[in-house]
Structures are given as C-alpha cells and as structure tokens.
Symmetry: C2
Subunit: 150 residues, 2 copies
C-alpha cells in the first residue's frame, strides 16, 4: 500500500467519525498532506460547511503530516495535540481540501533535535482550506511528539 | 416541544454530521446550554475522544446558546462564527458534555445594544468540558449576530 493509503486506512480504522465526515487522505508525503471531504456530509443550516467539520479535517491534515513523517517510528512515539486556533475567513460551499505543509527546514530540524535530545518535541503546524483561489479557512495547531518510555 | 427539544431537532435536521457525532442538546436556556456526546462515536486511536469531535461539540454548545437567546427572532437574524480557539488540557475517556454559559450581564447588554444600533453584534463565548471535576477542554469562539436585511 502507498503511504497515502496507509494513513487513510489508519484514520478510518481508529477514528470512526472520520468515515461519517467522508474524509479521504488524498496525498501523504513528508512535505505535504491533503485531506478532502465532501460538502454534503458536512452541510449546515446555511448551506455551507459546518465549522466543526472544517476544524476536524484541518486537524487531520496536520496530524497526518506528523504521522507520515514518523511512520517508521510508530509504536515508539505518541503524537499529541495541545491546542488549536481556527479562522473562518470565508464560507465553504463545496467539497473541500485541507492542506498541511511541513514547516521550514530550520524549524523542523530544531523540532527533531528537541525530540532526539529530550524525548519530546513541540511544533506548530498550519493547515489551510482554499476556495476559488482564496484562503477560506486558516488553522494552526500546537502538536507534541513524545518518545514512548520503556 | 421544549426549547431544548427544538434546538436539538434543529441541529439534527440541518447539520447532519451531528447525528454521527451522537450530539444531544440536553439543556437549552438563555443562561446555559449543554450538549453531550457519547465516547464510542468519537473515539480515536489512543482510546480518547478525537480533538475534532471535542471542538464540534463545544462549537454547538456556544451556537446553541445564541440560537436559544434569539429563538423568537429566527428568520430575522444570522448567527456567524468567525474564529475559535481550543485548549486540550486533559484527554477525555468517557461520554462528555460541553457547557456554554451566557457571559456577564454587562457584556451581554453591550452586545444586544450593538446589535440593535448597528444591526450587528459581536460576542466571545466560552464552552468547557470537564472530566472528574477538572476542566479538560476550554473553548472560546468569536460569534456575530446579524440582522437580516430586507
């Protein structure tokens, strides 16, 4: 199976609400993860996408980026989210895609060094959803990766 | 139907993902809204509740507070969320309840005056989820209520 298929399967198997959300991991590389979801599963009373669904899919994109980067270490590390912010700039009225890209090499290298040295690395990840070429949703999450003890 | 039943029905009818989340509006008064959800619908790979689900249920509690307060004006106003923050302090390992309480009278009165004067009022609402007596999740959302034109 491709990495993208492995991440998609893992999410569906272990976080069952993602099936109802209609989430699909369309791309999963160490540099970039894209998670899509259909409009109809996530529609609200204003015929736009429910804010909770937009948050869930952007969260999955960021979590997926860490999962993909640490796919060789799974079972030895934990991925934890501590907080997040989301800015709903424009309503979404169609199927949508959340994209998380890996931060700059400098930031990423510091994060990996902190993880290697202290057994715990913290990183801020961003995900965006665009519609008609404009950023409609901007998400930021603070994640930690922890080496499991023992 | 009671207000609580009306709000619950409205959410299930118009935001279908809330049925998969298992959300139930258990209480809806102008002062306080409580939305619950079951653990099993929202479980993740760590046997805790998925962060996206916690965000969705806290969002619904705050939205429900505004809906309940403006239930006489529905069809004449819009409720819009512009941004939110969520702090995951402790993992949730059981069925959970998000509670949103109406802010202080001073803040609420200013918000209503702004809405009456300018046709648009902005307010910051908080929702929390507690487990074993401790705040496990703290959510803040910035909402606007707008009078519909025409």
């Amino acid at each position: 199976m491709s990495t993208q298929a492995i991440v998609n399967q893992y999410i569906h198997d272990h976080i069952p609400i993602t099936i109802a959300l209609g989430s699909v991991v369309e791309l999963a590389t160490p540099q970039k993860v894209m998670v899509t979801a259909p409009f109809l599963n996530n529609i609200n009373h204003k015929q736009t996408v429910f804010g909770g669904s937009l948050h869930a899919i952007t969260t999955l994109a960021c979590w997926g980026l860490l999962y993909t980067n640490f796919i060789e270490s799974l079972g030895k590390i934990d991925i934890v989210i501590s907080k997040s912010e989301i800015d709903y700039k424009l309503p979404i009225k169609s199927d949508f895609a959340a994209i998380c890209e890996r931060p700059d090499t400098l930031i990423w290298t510091k994060f990996e060094q902190m993880l290697a040295r202290k057994g715990k690395g913290r990183i801020c990840l961003e995900a965006t959803i665009t519609e008609n070429g404009k950023i409609a949703v901007a998400y930021q999450g603070e994640f930690a990766v922890l080496k499991q003890v023992g």
